[in-house]
Assembly symmetry: D4
Homo-oligomer: 251 residues x 8
C-alpha cells in the first residue's frame, strides 16, 4: 500500500464511499504483514538509497559475470552510482559490454560508474603497511572516492621502518578519518591511532603465510590494539572500511 493508496482509502472513508469498519480491517491486515516504510517502493535498491544514502553495492565474489552485469545495469539505469567489488577480468568484460562508460580499477579489482553524490566534509586518508596490501587499500580508496570523498593515499609505511609513518604525521593529523590497512602482524593501526585524534578504521589483510592464518594474526592484533580510536572490519574488507569512512566523513 503506497502513501497515495492510503490517502485514497482515507478519502473514501471520509466521503462515506468506504465504511470505517471495512477500512479498519484492510488497514490492520496490511499493517500486520508489512511495515509501511516500504509501501510503494517496488525495488529494494531505491529504498536503500533513501535509508542509507547509497545504493546496494555488488559483491562480485561467487557471482557469474552475467549475473554481475545484469545487476550492474539495473543499478546504473536508475541513475545510481555503481560499485562492483571483487570483480575479475571476466566480470569486467561482461559489465563493459553493457555499460561502456564504466571503469575498471585493476589493483582494487573494482568496477565503478560514478554519479553525483554529496561531497564529504574533510579528507579520508588510506594508509597501508606493505605493497601486498595495495588491493585492499585501493578497494577502500575507490569506494570512498565513489561515495564523494577526497582520498589521500599514504602507502608502504609499515612499522618495521617506523620513520616511514612518522614522516607522514602531518598528512595523518589533517585527515577527518583514517583507514589503516595491514597484514602480517597488523601493528600499523595502533601506531597511527596513537598519533592522531580521529577515528581509525583498521582493515586486516590476508597477506602473510604460516602463522598469519589467512589474516587472523592481523585481525587479532587490531582487535587488541592498545591505542584508542581503533575499530576493525573483516579481513580484506576494503569496501567496508571505505564505506564507514565515507559515512563518518559525511556527518
Amino acid at each position: 500500500m503506497t502513501p497515495d493508496q492510503l490517502r485514497t482509502l482515507l478519502d473514501e472513508v471520509q466521503s462515506g464511499r468506504r465504511p470505517a469498519a471495512e477500512a479498519h480491517r484492510t488497514l490492520l491486515a496490511t499493517l500486520r504483514a508489512e511495515p509501511l516504510a516500504d509501501l510503494g517502493f517496488a525495488k529494494v535498491d531505491h529504498h536503500r538509497v533513501t535509508r542509507q544514502g547509497f545504493p546496494e553495492v555488488v559483491l562480485g565474489l561467487g557471482k557469474s559475470p552475467a549475473q554481475i552485469a545484469a545487476i550492474a545495469a539495473a543499478i546504473a539505469e536508475r541513475g545510481h552510482p555503481l560499485l562492483v567489488t571483487r570483480a575479475d577480468d571476466a566480470a569486467w568484460e561482461a559489465v563493459r559490454d553493457r555499460l561502456p562508460e564504466a571503469r575498471y580499477h585493476e589493483v582494487a579489482r573494482a568496477i565503478t560508474l560514478p554519479r553525483d553524490v554529496p561531497p564529504g566534509q574533510g579528507r579520508v586518508t588510506i594508509a597501508s603497511a606493505g605493497t601486498s596490501d595495495l588491493p585492499v587499500a585501493e578497494e577502500a580508496a575507490v569506494t570512498a572516492e565513489l561515495m564523494g570523498n577526497e582520498v589521500d593515499r599514504v602507502y608502504d609505511v609499515g612499522v618495521a621502518g617506523i620513520h616511514r609513518v612518522l614522516r607522514e604525521r602531518a598528512r595523518l593529523e589533517t585527515a577527518r578519518v583514517i583507514v589503516v590497512v595491514a597484514g602480517m602482524e597488523g601493528a600499523l593501526p595502533s601506531v597511527v591511532a596513537g598519533m592522531v585524534a580521529v577515528p581509525v578504521i583498521a582493515v586486516p589483510t590476508s597477506v602473510g603465510y604460516g602463522a598469519s592464518f589467512g589474516g587472523i594474526a592481523a585481525l587479532l592484533g587490531m582487535l587488541n590494539s592498545c591505542a584508542n580510536g581503533v575499530s576493525v572490519v573483516n579481513i580484506d574488507n576494503g569496501f567496508g572500511a571505505g564505506c564507514i569512512a565515507s559515512m563518518i566523513n559525511h556527518l
Copy 2:
C-alpha cells in the same frame, strides 16, 4: 496505537470530525516507527505468548537471585507458566520466597510453576549417554513437561555398550520426537537416528576432559552425523532442545 484507537481515528474521519489529510499524516508517522502488530501490547511477554505459544523463559545464568525472583514473579502474576533455567540454590530461595508454590528440580537446576497449556500430540523421548549428562537431559525433560508434553526418559544408553540402546528400540520407535543428550564423542544421536524415522534433536554436553574441549568434540560429532534427521543445539542447551521438541510435538 491500539486497534481501538485506529477504529476511533477512522470513525472520526468518516464523521468528518478529523480531516483525511491529518489522519494520513498521523497514520504514516505511526506506522513508520512501529509495526502495528505490537499496538496495544504493553508488555513484551504477553506478545511472545501470542506469537510463539509460550512466554519468555528466564535464563538464570549471570542474573542475581533478586533479579530472577522479580522476573519470575512478574511472569507468574500474569498466569503464565514459569521456567527458570540454570538456577542455583540462592536463586531458588529467592524465587521460593515470592512464589511458594513453585518447584525446584535439583538435577535439572530448574525452577518451574506449571499452568494449563495445550497437550502435545505424542511422546517426547529424552535419551542420554551417561550419568554425567543427566543435568542437561533433565533440563530438556522438565522443559518439555512444563510445555505440556508426555516425556519418556531413556537414560544411560551410551554407545560403548551398544546393547543398552538397542534394548530400548521399542521406546524409541514410538516417540514422536527424540532429544538425545551426550558428551565426550557425542555418537549416540547418530545411532539413535539410524534406528527411527522421527526427528532427533541432538544436545552436546560439556561432559568430558582434555580433547573434549568443553563439548566441542561432541558438538562437531553431532553436526557431522552420518544419519539422517539429526539437528543440533548449543552445548548444554537442554532447554532449547526441550523447547524444539515441544514445538514439533504440538504441530
Copy 3:
C-alpha cells in the same frame, strides 16, 4: 533367518520333525550373531526404507561419476525415489546415460528421479539470506519436494534490510516448519524464529570471506541463537535440513 524361516523352524519343532534342543542351538547361534530386525533383508537400502521411510541418498562428494551412476541405477531399479547431492556435470552425464528419466537441478547441484511418496501434512518454507546462499537453499528445497512436501521459497531476505523478511511474515507464519539458510553472520534464523511458533532448521553456509572461516561464523551464530526453536545442521548441509523438515512435516 527370515520370519518365514523362523516359522518353518517352529512348525518343525511342533510337528516333532526337529528336536527342541537342536532348534535351541540354532536359534541361539543366529541371534547372538545377527539382530533379527535384519532377517530376510538382503539389501541395506530396502531396510532403510522400512526403518526410516526413505531410501539411502547418494552424497556425490568424492565419488566418481561411474560409482554414482551405478548406485543411482541400483536405487532406481528397486522403484525407490533417487536423490544424488553435490553432483557435478560429469556425474549428471553418467547418471543420465543410465537413467534418461532423471532430472538435474543445476542450482541445487542435485539429481532426482521422483516416485510416489506419502505427502507431507503442511508446507515446508525455505528462507535464505542472500543470492549466494541459493545452492544450499535449493538443495534443501529439492530434497523436501522429492520427499513429498509442498515447498515455499522465500529467498533474499537477509537481515541487513529487515523490512524484507518482515514483509514475508504471513508466508512464514503459515509454514509447518521452516528451513533458514544463511552465510556470513548467520543472523536470519534468529529473526525468523522470533516471528513464528514452528521449528526452524538453520543451515549455515560457507558464503563469505575472511573471518567467516568457511561458515564457522554463521554456524556459531546459529548455535547461539537467542530465539527459541532453532536447531542447526552442518555447514552447507541443505540436504540434511530438507530431510529433517520433511520428517517433521510427515508427523
Copy 4:
C-alpha cells in the same frame, strides 16, 4: 629540548655567543635521540591530551587498588577528567579515599571524575541486546558521557523479538553514531546498521555459554555483518566503543 631552548640556541648562534659547529653537533645529537614533538612535555599524559584530546584512561584489570588510586590521583591533580574501567569494589574504595568527589558506576564497573570537556555535535546512542549485556553497554555510555556526549540508551532490543528494535527506529535514526552491544549470536548490529545511515560501532560481549566461546561467536558474527557501516571492537570493550563514538561525535 623545548621550543624555548631551541630559540635560545639559535639566538646564541646569531649573536656569536655559540659557534655554529657546536650548535650543529648539539642539534644533531638531540634530534637523533628524541622526536621534537615531545620537547617540553615532561609528562606522558599531558602529551596525550594535546595529541588525542583526552587523557590516559586507567584499565583497572590486573592492577592493585593502590596502583589504581595512585594513577587516578595523578590524573585528577592535573585537572584532567578521570576514567577507571573494570574497577571492582576494592579499587573503588581506594580511589574514594583519595578522591572523595569521584563517583562509582556500579553496573559499568567504572569510576569517573568529570571535568569540562568540549561537547559532542550530536547524540551517541547505545543499543544493547539483552540485560546481561548491560555492564558493557554502561561502560560505553559512561565513557561517552564523561567525554562530553549526550547519550541515549536503547536497551533490551535483541533480534529474537524484532519488533522491539523496530519500535525504536526513530531514536536510532536521529543518532549521530550508534554503539551496539550484543552477546550470543551478535546479530543486532546488522539489523540496526540496515536501518540507519550513520556509523555503527559493534561490541561483542562474552555473554552466552557453550559455543559462544566467551564472545567469539558474537565477534565473528559482527565482523561478517552483511550490513554496511559496521566496525567492531574487542569482546566486552565498552570503553573502546564509547571512545570511538565520542571521537566521531566531536568531528
Copy 5:
C-alpha cells in the same frame, strides 16, 4: 528372555502346549527389541566382564562422593576388581567408609581394590618426561597393575637431556608394550618409539602453560609423530593408556 526361557518355550511348542503361531509372534517381538546376547544378564557390569574381560571403571570426575561410593560398593560386592579414577580426598573417604580394604593411590588420584585377574604375558613399561607428568603416569601404572600386569616405571627421562632416555634403552627394549607420558612439546614418544619394536601408547598431559593450550601442543605433537608404532589417547588419560597396554599385554 533367558536361554532357559527360550528352551522352555521350545519345549512347550514341541509338546503342543503352546501353538507355533503364538511362539512365532512372541519370539519376533522379543528379538526385534532386544539382542539375545543380553538375555539373562540383569546387570550391565556383569556383561562387560564377559565381553571385555574387566568390569566397568568409575570415572570420579563430576560425581559426588556418595555416588562414587555406592557404585564402588556395588562393583566390590560382586567380587570384581575396583578402580576409581580422578578421585579426590572426599571421594576416597566415602569409599573407605564402605570398603575399608580399598586403597588410595595419592599421586595417581585413584582408588583400587584388587582381585585375582589373569596375569599379562610380559612387562608394561610406563615412561614419563617430567615430574609434573607423574599423576597421569601413575594413573596408567595403577590401572595396569590392577589389571594383572607387571609394571616398570621409567620416569623423568624428558628429551631435553637425551642421555637420560638413552640410558634406559635396555629397560625399554625388554617391554612388551610401552606407555609414554609427556606434556609441553610431547616429543618423548617419538624418541622412544624410534628405539624399540613394540607398540607405544602416547599420553599427552596438560602440563605446561601459554601455548601448550592445556595439552593441545603435546597432543598434536604425538599425533604427528614421525616414528612408527605410536598411537595416542586423550589428554591426561592415563587410565585409557594403562587399559590398552593391559589388553595388548594379555593377547
Copy 6:
C-alpha cells in the same frame, strides 16, 4: 668405530703396540660423539630393520617421482620389503620402470614389493564406516599384509545403520587387533571397542565437509571415546594404524 676396529684396538693394547693411555683417549673421544649402537651400520635402513623389524617406509607425499623411485630401488636392492604410501600415478610409473616386479594398489595409493617377513600371530581386522573411507582403510590393509599379517576387511559398517556392524560381531570378536577407519563424526571405534576385548586402533579420515574441518571432528570424537581400548593415529594415517596393528599382532 666398528666392533672390528674396537677389537683391533684392544688387541693392540694387549700386545703393547698401543699404549693404554692413548687408547683411553681415543675411546673416550669416540664414545662421547657417537653411540656405539651404530658402529658398523653404514646404512640407516639396515639399522631400522634390526631395531624395529621393518625397513624405512617411503611417504610419497611431497617427493618427486624420481626421488621416490631412487629410494624404492635402494630399499629393494637390499632385499627389504618395499612400501611407498601416498603414491600417485607418476610415482608409480617411475617406480615400475626401475622395479618391474612391484605392484600398485590403486585404491590404497600404495606401491609394494613383498619379501618374506615373519607371520603375525592372529588376524588383523580392518573395519571402515563408509565407502569414502576406503583409501585409508586399504592403506592400512596393504601395510598390514606386507608386514606379514592376515587381514580381514569389514567395510561399510557405519553407525547410522547399527545392524550392519552388529551383524559382523563374530568377525570382530575373533580378531587379534582391529583397525577402525571412519570420517564425519567418527563414532564407529566406540561402538566396535564396546563389542570386543582386543585393542582398537582408530583412524580418523578427512571424509566430510563443513564442520568436519578436514577430519578434526572425527579425530576429536575418537580421542574422547567412552569405550575402553581405543587409541588414535593421525587423520588419514592408514599406514600408521596398519603398522601398529602389525606390531601388536607380532607380539
Copy 7:
C-alpha cells in the same frame, strides 16, 4: 662405567690380566646401553652445567612448596646458582627456611641465590610495552642478571605512544641483544627490531582480555613480525627469553 674404570680395564688388557676378547664384550655391552658422556656423573644437574653452562632451573608451577625447597637446597648445596620461577609466597617461605641467604623477587615471582658466573660480553636490554607486562619482563631481567649479564630495563614504551620508544633509541642501539615483552597486540618487537641491528627475543604475555585469548593475539603478531631479527618464545616465558639473551650475550 667411569673414565677411571675404563682406564683400569685398558690397563688390565695391557698387562694381560684381562683377555682382549672379554674386554671387547664388556665394552660393547656397556656402550650399547649407555652413552659414555654420562659415565661417572651421578647427578643430572652436574651434567647440565658441563653441557650447557648453567644448572637446571626450577619451574615452580605445579610443584609443592616442599618439593621446590628440596630441589632448591640440592642445587644450592653443590654451589650452583639457584633460580626458581613462578614461585608464590608459600614456595618462597619454604625455600627461605632452608636457604636464608636466598632472595625473593616479588614482581618477577622468582627466587634467586647468585653464585659467581662468567660475565656477558655486552648489555641485555629488556623492553616492555605496559605496566601489566612487568612480571614477565622482570622474570627475564632476573634470569639474565643471575646468569651474569648487565641488564638495562626500558619499560612502558608501548606503541600507542610511539614517541616513548623512539626516545629510547640510544639505549636500544647500544644493547647486544634485546628482549621485548608485550601483551595485547604485541606490536612492540616489530618496532624495536626495525630500529636496531641486534637480535630481538619477543615474549608475548597473557595480558589483555577478550580476543587476546590469553596471549594468542600477541604470539601470532610476533611470529608474523615484518621486521628482521625477531624470534619468539612461549607466552609469558620471561625465563626462556632471559636465558636465550644470556646465551647470545656470552658468545
Copy 8:
C-alpha cells in the same frame, strides 16, 4: 633536511643572512614532521643498510615477476647484496633477464646476487629433520651464506632415529648458533638444544598432513620446548631464521 643543509642553515644564522626567528620556524616544522635519522636518505633501502647492516630483502610471495625484477634491479644497482625468497621459475626468469650474474637456488626457491659483506665470527649450523624440510632449511642456509656466514648443513637427523642426531654432536657443539628446521611433531629443536650451549633458532615447517594443520603442530611443539635456548620463527620462515642466526654470528 640533510646534515649539510642543517650546517648551512646554522651558518646563515651565524652570519646574519637568516634571522634566528625564521630559522626557528623552519627547524620546528621540519623536525615535527620527520625524524632526523632520515635526513638526506632519499631511499628507504639505503637507510636500512645503515640501520640494520643489510638491505631490504624481497619476499617473492604475491608479487609479479615484473615487480620482483624491478625491485631486484634497483637493489643491485646500488651495489647491495640481493636476496629474493619464495621465487618461482617465472620470477627467476624475469630477474635473470635483468641481472644475468644473479643465481637461482632451486631447492631454496631463492635468487641471490652476493656482494662483499663482513664475515661472521663463527659457524652457523643448519639442522633439519627430514628431506621434505629441505626447501626451508636451504632458504635459511642461502640467507646466512649471503650475509657472510660459514654454513654447516646437518640434514635428515629427525628424532625417530635418535642415533642420527647423536652422531652429529661434535658438529653441533662447535657451532656458534644453530638453526633447526622440522615439520610434523617438531621435536628436533628440543633434542638439539639439550645437547649444546648455544642459541637454537627453531623453524617449524608445514611438512605433514592431517593434524599437523599446516605446521601448527610443529610450531606449538617448538614454543613449548622443555629445553633452554630455543626461540621460534614463523612456519616455513627459513629466511627469518637465517637472518637472526647471521645477526648473532656477527655480534
